[in-house]
């Protein structure tokens, strides 16, 4: 084996330095938030907290435990994730199966497909959608958060492509045994697509958990806000300032450590599913690779 040249070694050092810098850049702002949440209130208010907590304590978290609106929003988000992901997955499975058939098997296949692609590429826009939701009487209800996005068209296409790769012999054997299409879908296709479904489901969960704007749009009463809408409202003051000098005083009026604790707790559910997400998302991208 040829030993590395000086130039190559120098390149290695540069590569490591840039990579570590990029990694630190991603990590440190989040670490700072965590440190603030565990710091002494006055130290946080005076901006003395860097990468480690100053006078470590859990006062902010103790205070947070008693914050009923925070936990109400937390539960609303959990409810949304559960209902929203269940609906998304059910519809994805049901639609991907007929669409994975060719035109000879399912004659209306291409009509449905074109409708879906059109719906994916073109939207009526925020205001007409808002009016539909409003006219259906869904304002201030959990359904306003899950039904408008009930059909994840992109995911349907992903799963459809996955279903296309399932050997036909499997299905034919079951059909000859007299199984219905529904039985074929839930007895054969569903079990072998579980890893793909897990990927899609995890992305769906994170998407529902992280969306803050539909909460703001469809909930009139702030007591119905899901968690991320609640979090966004913590720093909403900045979107209302009209004079630069106001920005200087903003930080001093809010309770920095408590807000930081709220933000940290709101990330925890994402961190809990993150290892699973990470295991799957590379394969998820692979099943999403463009083919038709």
């Amino acid at each position: 084996m040829k030993s590395k040249t000086f130039g190559s070694r120098f390149a290695d050092i540069c590569i490591w330095m840039v990579l570590l810098l990029l990694t630190a850049l991603c990590f440190l702002p989040l670490l700072n938030m965590v440190s603030i949440s565990f710091s002494d209130k006055s130290a946080a208010q005076a901006n003395l907290v860097g990468l480690l907590p100053v006078h470590f304590n859990t006062n902010a978290y103790q205070l947070l435990l008693k914050d009923t609106q925070f936990w109400r929003s937390f539960l609303i988000s959990i409810e949304r994730v559960a209902i929203g992901t269940a609906i998304n997955l059910m519809i994805t499975v049901l639609m991907a199966f007929p669409l994975s058939k060719n035109k000879n098997d399912f004659r209306a296949r291409n009509i449905y497909m074109n409708l879906m692609i059109f719906a994916m590429l073109f939207s009526g826009g925020m205001i007409p959608i808002f009016m539909v939701v409003k006219n259906l009487g869904l304002i201030d209800s959990i359904w306003a958060l899950v039904l408008p996005g009930a059909v994840p068209i992109f995911n349907v296409i992903l799963l459809m492509n996955f279903f296309k790769s399932v050997p036909e012999a499997l299905e034919e054997a079951a059909i000859i045994d007299g199984a219905s299409k529904m039985r074929v879908l839930f007895g054969i296709f569903l079990p072998i697509s579980l890893p793909a479904l897990a990927t899609i489901g995890l992305f769906s969960m994170v998407g529902h958990w992280n969306d803050y704007f539909s909460g703001l749009l469809y909930m009139n009463s702030s007591s119905n806000y899901p968690l991320q809408t609640y979090i966004q409202q913590l720093s909403v003051d900045i979107t209302k300032i009209t004079d630069p000098s106001q920005l200087k005083s903003l930080a001093s009026v809010s309770n920095k450590t408590l807000n930081a604790a709220k933000i940290v707790v709101s990330i925890i559910p994402v961190l809990l599913v993150y290892p699973f997400l990470q295991r799957y998302f590379v394969s998820g991208l692979v099943i999403g690779s463009v083919k038709e």
Partner: protein, 298 residues
């Protein structure tokens, strides 16, 4: 020979029906709401009772000075995001690809992918904290002997911060597709070239970059459809009236004027124009990518 029995067809239609009903209600019915763009819509009268005004809303759009400003902001921010959101992930992927230590590679990836999975509500709070007047960035500037800046209330900085934080959030995740493309390059090419005495830099230029070029072109074509998407969730959580001059984009404008200002017809017209232009761009991008890389976007 396939059996085409009626019962089978009916079952397929039944499977499609729940999703199709939701699509009709929440996608296709709102498309009829687009008619508002050609009306002077009054909520009390509804779509069937409001007066038709033809293209007046679109003419009004051309007359007000806001339009140019908002279009410019949208395109500048979106283009910045597209350009830096493509270059940074490529560079990151190329650098990461040079690393042989498996565990280090894994750890770096774990950390760098994370911001992509955080909500803009959370990231906005982090950004506000970092760029606070007394926050870390300004503390660093003061340490370097510079004056602190009110970054988020500065028209000189707002766009850069929007583009920068968007790249920050997405570059790791955006690199995955390039890393996948890199693993697809034939290792034999590297072995052969190093026997011929090619340096690592030469290998990068002649093997690695050409190897991921189709992916780069596909992603770029895909991005063409995003030229009017400046990122509503992000800007909405970070902007304020002082930076409307540089940060107000089509989507935020539609929300403010339409839903808060209740000029439903006008805002719908603005939104419609955006949808039509985006759709046209995306369709052209699809044609382009079929031609260039023999791949369809959809």
């Amino acid at each position: 020979m396939k059996r085409k029995n009626k019962a089978g067809q009916l079952e397929y239609h039944l499977m499609m029906s729940p999703g199709i009903i939701f699509l009709i209600v929440f996608s296709f019915v709102p498309m009829f709401g687009i008619l508002m763009a050609f009306q002077d819509y009054v909520p009390a009268k509804g779509i069937f009772g409001s007066a038709w005004v033809g293209l007046d809303n679109f003419k009004y759009m051309l007359e007000i000075p806001d339009s140019m400003k908002i279009l410019r902001n949208t395109v500048v921010i979106a283009l910045g995001k597209i350009i830096f959101g493509t270059i940074v992930p490529i560079i990151f992927a190329l650098l990461l690809n040079e690393i042989r230590l498996k565990w280090a590679k894994k750890s770096i990836q774990t950390i760098v992918y994370l911001p992509n999975f955080l909500s803009w509500a959370v990231v906005a709070a982090v950004v506000i904290n970092i760029f606070d007047y007394h926050g870390p960035v300004n503390q660093f500037l003061q340490f370097m002997g510079k004056d602190p800046t009110l970054f988020l209330a500065s028209n000189n900085w707002f766009r850069q911060i929007i583009i920068g934080t968007d790249v920050w959030k997405g570059f790791g995740y955006g690199a995955i597709v390039y890393l996948a493309a890199l693993t697809g390059i034939d290792p034999g090419l590297y072995e052969a070239s190093s026997i011929d005495g090619a340096s690592r830099f030469k290998q990068l230029i002649h093997i690695t970059l050409p190897g991921i070029l189709p992916t780069i072109m596909l992603i770029s074509a895909l991005n063409l459809g995003n030229i009017l998407n400046a990122g509503f969730d992000q800007i909405f959580a970070l902007y304020n009236p002082i930076v409307y001059e540089t940060g107000d984009v089509i989507d935020t404008y539609v929300y403010r004027v339409g839903l808060l200002g209740q000029q439903y017809s006008f805002a719908t017209a603005v939104g419609l124009l955006k949808s039509v232009v985006s759709l046209t761009l995306l369709l052209s991008a699809n044609q382009l990518s079929i031609k260039l890389v023999k791949m369809r976007i959809f």
